[in-house]
Amino acid sequence: MEEIRRQFSLRLIGNRVNPDYRREAPWERWQERPASHAAQKSASISLRPGERIVRSACYSCNMCCEVLVFIDEATGRILRVEGDPESPISKGVLCAKGLAARDLVYNPGRLRHPLKRAGERGKGKWERISWEEALDGIAGRLLEHRRKDGPQGVAFLQGTMRGWSRVYSRLANAFGAVNHGAAGWAQCLWPRLVDNSVTFGATYTEVPDFENTRCVLVWGTNPASTWPYFASQIMDARQRGAALIVVDPYLSETAAKADLWIQLKPGTDTALALTLLHTVIGEGRCDSEFIRDWTVGFDRLAEHIGTYTPEWGEAITRVPAALIRKAARVYATAKPSAIYRCVSLDTVHDSIQACRAVSILAAVTGNIGIPGGNVTVSKRGETSQNTHAFIGYDLLPPDKIPLRRGFDEFPLLCDTLSPVPTAHMPTLWETVASDAPYPVKAALIFGSNALISYSNTPRVEAAMRKLEFIAVCDLFMTPTAQMADIVLPASSWLERDNLISSFQVCPTYTIAQQKAVELAEARSDVDIVCDLAGKLGLADHFWSDSGELYDSLVKPTGLTFREFKKKKRMHAPFVYRQFEKNGFDTPSGKVELYSSLLEQNRCAPLPVYTEPLAGPAAGPDRQQEYPYILTTGWRLPVYRHTENRQNPLLREVHPRPGVLIHPDTAARLDIAEGDPVTIETGTGAATLFACITLGIHPDVVQATPGWPGRANINRVIPWGRFAEGIGSVPMRGIRCRLEKGSADGVDPQEGGYR
């Protein structure tokens, strides 16, 4: 049947492309398309007899689309989860992850009770215990290790958690755990946030104003797969006539719709951004008024970018110089233009420089703070959790802070410029493994599948085996939870209230998530953190439970959280050109093209390009041995990080971990579609299944991350050189070799955690 469908679809579209399709460059001759071109919006809700609705917000990714949870009145069970057609934010759309989220509650693999290890570590023998016993046990061990080794000897690790909150960071700081952090952060979001802070003085992120833009420059992200309602806004902008420029080494779903697809060599983002800047400045396509009134360092920048010509860039990035010039012209002249950038810029070897170079492009073209550009946002009505006050940074004993691993080398990550000052994780894991310079013997792990989500998995696994005490809080018995001494059952987003107040995902609204159902003894990790704080003697710094926390957060709006939930959301519209009133919150009060804060922190104050070579296979003498370039950026629309492989409806859409490989390369290595391919870097090996495509360069392979076991691509990511100042682990542009592998032990069902 699948083959009949395939033949039908190919015959349907044929192979004759309309030569005029988007040839007109509509962004140059702007006019609104007739409304009938816009696709349908659903206004009606599909409520049926015997059902009731709980209005909530999905947390199957960070996007937080508003949803309706349909519940059977007779049984109280969730029947389905749908997008909320009345939402002014997501307007009824909801991706596969949200639509299939019911399984999060009813999957037989869900953890339902606290568990204590009953046999040898990792042997899978567990004994059910009460919450009281579990929290007492964890608190007792953490306090014992703090007494013995000092607070630096207890690691507080987290992942994306099950909801959006910073209480866990507050717990770490109140406990004195300088070695706090996440698998992401330094290579996910933090470089962009630090860039925002040093360049624009904005506390949080710069937001693309898709609804008013005439050009979207998507850089290092595939919103069609990973940022659902932003993707719907980008598609609407495109169909309205906005230009779509996509920077991606692979012809991703988003790149496939681009007017200009910029297929760069992985890891050369900074070089590309510098050549775009060279073109924009060299051709005089800047906003000279904005530069004069609102930036500092332009002259030094103009001099600095002199050598970064498109021809220089072509040799490094492989992007034809003519295409670089064209992209720079479209971006600068289609104005207002909005940049949408994501994790790839955080996972290059020079993350902070790459982020800065892209921000500077937006600044010199005057696309900051204007309708249709990138709007910087810093605060709104409720109390923000994204402040050092909220995370209790002042609770950390000042004499302990320099003990944080990575503190001297990575000030942008470990010190106060960081949104959450955190340890440098590779350095911390090396400390766990070696007891140098001090012992770290205990770890509390919340919402993180650390054994899969950290790079250099073999090293992390070895370190984790040395820990004397591990407690894990999660939804499923993940490979990480299997290593634990005590496992706590967290609730999924369908089982908990939450106040979602994140500029990254929802720039103009604060939204309420509402509990729809309960599952056994699973609890919200905010409640667990509050209780654990009590057991650790830190109750004075905490709330009695999540309800009290949410009440305190919404208090400035004059509402209780219960009242807020009834309203469901709070609107804080964009304020354009806010800088005209308040300036920029940088030392100079202006956009710092030349960054005084980076200079003070011993980092390059103007973005410079450096070679993206990393790891044992880096040297030029090793290129024959390791002839291919690996990137691990292939995100699938049905998964998020390590999540969702246990969900049957999502798993059938993408059953196996894949690696994208060019047909010429596959032929050379005798690899056919679907064959196992072993990728080796000198750090480790991983085996994934070949997905052969012309959409990737012949010497580049792109793997999909987040799979357990031998398919985990993090097994090959080396720890050699880290990004200057912030310590990001490079995952784009790693030298590797490939061979046809064996599927033994790469069980496609391994991801089930059942």
Binding site: M1, R5, N15, A39, S42, Y229, M235, L694
Partner: protein, 184 residues
């Protein structure tokens, strides 16, 4: 639901995110296995010197001359007033004739307890005034449900192909559907 409806699928808007596949399965309460909606992809193709990668949602076309309806030995497949083709599970004997004859390969054999399953254009939702689940949740807003008599005006001269209640529309593909119309 007296007038005939059309669900237009704007191929130029499809991101290939598979949201419709899962939306469909949730609406029809299907377990893993049958997949009435499938997004097929062309893979990266080199056409006129440029790479193209395209996505085509495939589902029951609710044909004007349905082979399945003709082939059903127990008359379990019916055409409704709105023009949609529906399988009546209470009449179906599970013989699978419809699955075999469907020229689009979109009737899935193992639906519920031996009864084949296919797109209903979300009959239950439409009865309640809502649009089909794929259309509502689609990240590219690809699908639009409209009355048939408004379709010509709606498509504004863009290329279109339909053989029933589903209309594929595109600015990009000049030969849309021609290969299907030609005699094999």
């Amino acid at each position: 639901m007296n007038s005939r409806i059309v669900m237009a699928i704007d191929l130029d808007r499809c991101w290939g995110c598979r949201t419709c596949e899962v939306a469909c399965k949730q609406e029809l309460a299907l377990a893993a296995g049958p997949r009435p909606m499938r997004v097929m992809e062309t893979g990266a193709r080199l056409l006129d010197g440029a790479l193209h990668r395209d996505f085509i949602p495939t589902l029951c076309q609710h044909c004007d001359r349905p082979a399945c309806l003709a082939a059903c030995p127990v008359e379990a497949i019916v055409r409704e007033a709105d023009g949609t083709i529906q399988i009546q599970p209470e009449t179906c004997n599970g013989c699978g004739a419809c699955v075999t004859v469907c020229p689009f390969g979109v009737i899935e054999a193992d639906g519920y307890e031996g009864v084949p399953v296919k797109c209903t254009l979300c009959k239950a939702r439409r009865e309640g005034g809502a649009v089909p689940s794929c259309a509502q949740h689609c990240i590219g807003r690809v699908m639009t449900l409209i009355d048939e008599d408004r379709f010509e005006q709606w498509r504004q001269g863009r290329y279109a192909w339909k053989t029933g209640r589903i209309a594929y529309v595109s600015d990009k593909w000049t030969g849309l559907g021609q290969a299907l119309n030609d005699p094999q």
